[in-house]
């Protein structure tokens, strides 16, 4: 199996957007406020660069690529949790509960790591694609739940910072789409159409974040109640 022009196009666009978000974060002086997000985007860009190198050296069907892809993806999931926790800290900043959030985050990370370790240990003799897909599905679903709770808190606390809200919503879209796609792949392992979804999601997040950093200033505010589905 070879990569086609669309694969390369998605890869290149994604890579450029990720680099743009990092540069934009520095340029707009948002780096200090969004350190985990910037580091995450920087590492995603590095991982994408590594992916390109592995594919060209070992091939798309090689075990090296298989392990690189899923291990780096798991690492990115953990980093993404840190981004989510950072968003929690921003939303709850005025309530002075950072210590509790940090504690809960460490517990959650430890629990996720332990759960993943136990599952991987039990399946170490048959670490198949199906198993990895299931693990990724579960990890991204934890992300969906975390973001959904955060979104509930944003609505309840009437958070008004447009930039923060858009960053969280973009992440929520990305996590939901990822979890849904992995669930579909679990249900229909032979559906070849699903192959196109992860690259699209991969482009969506840096695209949405790039838009937010470019167009929405840190001072921009909105009425959160109007964003909830079903309101006028």
């Amino acid at each position: 199996m070879q990569l086609g022009p669309f694969d390369y196009a998605f890869w290149l666009v994604g890579f450029l957007l990720e680099a743009y978000v990092v540069v934009c974060s520095f340029y707009r002086r948002a780096f200090l406020r969004y350190i985990p997000l910037t580091i995450y985007m920087f590492i995603v860009a590095l991982v994408n660069g590594g992916q390109y190198h592995i594919i060209h050296t070992y091939g798309l069907r090689s075990s090296q690529y298989f392990y690189y892809y899923y291990y780096s993806d798991s690492l990115l999931f953990i980093l993404m949790y840190l981004v989510v926790i950072h968003f929690y800290q921003q939303v709850f900043a005025e309530m002075k509960v950072e210590r509790y959030i940090r504690g809960a985050a460490v517990l959650l990370l430890a629990a996720t790591a332990l759960f993943s370790y136990i599952v991987v240990h039990d399946h170490k003799d048959h670490l198949t694609t199906n198993f990895v897909v299931e693990l990724e599905q579960n990890l991204s679903f934890v992300g969906v739940v975390l973001i959904y709770l955060l979104w509930g808190a944003i609505l309840k606390l009437r958070e008004t910072r447009t930039r923060l809200i858009q960053l969280v919503l973009a992440l929520g879209i990305s996590y939901s789409a990822t979890a849904g796609t992995y669930a579909l792949r679990n249900l229909f392992p032979d559906a070849s159409m699903l192959r196109w979804v992860p690259p699209i999601i991969g482009v969506w997040l840096p695209l949405a974040w790039a838009y937010t950093f470019t167009r929405v200033s840190e001072e921009s505010r909105l009425v959160t109640a109007r964003l909830a589905v079903g309101t006028r």
Partner: protein, 138 residues
């Protein structure tokens, strides 16, 4: 199987909710902006009435006739996609769930207002360009 199905359904529901809220956050930026008399005249909007949901496509055509500002393309495209999805959804549920159809109508109206604000900005930009060119010639 059951877990995967459950995760799929929940993820689809949250995906819809996050997507709608994200589009609304983009639309929210235009809510605070009032429409100028100039854009009302160009778009044929009466002074008292608000922008109609059906005006969206016409307004978008007018927006495309103006010189590009370069910074509003992505949000116009995003709102256009949102409007298209609402249009399909509204038609589908018009006879089944009228309250949902009314909600989609309000959302489409917000999209039209957003397009009117975008048109207003582009007209101002065109005028600035013309003024600048006139100044350069002198």
């Amino acid at each position: 199987m059951i877990t995967a199905s459950l995760i799929f359904v929940i993820s689809l529901a949250t995906l819809l909710q996050f997507s709608i809220s994200h589009c609304r956050s983009i639309l929210a930026s235009s809510r605070k902006v009032g429409l100028s008399d100039r854009v009302r005249e160009v778009a044929g909007i009466d002074g008292q009435s608000s922008v109609a949901a059906e005006d969206f496509r016409r307004l978008l055509e007018l927006v495309r006739l103006c010189p590009e500002r370069g910074d509003d393309q992505s949000e116009i495209r995003a709102v256009g996609t949102y409007y298209g999805a609402l249009d399909v959804f509204g038609r589908a549920c018009r006879s089944i769930i009228p309250s949902l159809a009314a909600w989609t109508e309000r959302e489409r109206q917000s999209c039209s207002y957003f397009a009117a604000v975008a048109l207003d900005r582009r007209i101002s930009y065109s005028r600035d360009l013309l003024t600048q060119q006139g100044g350069d010639r002198l």
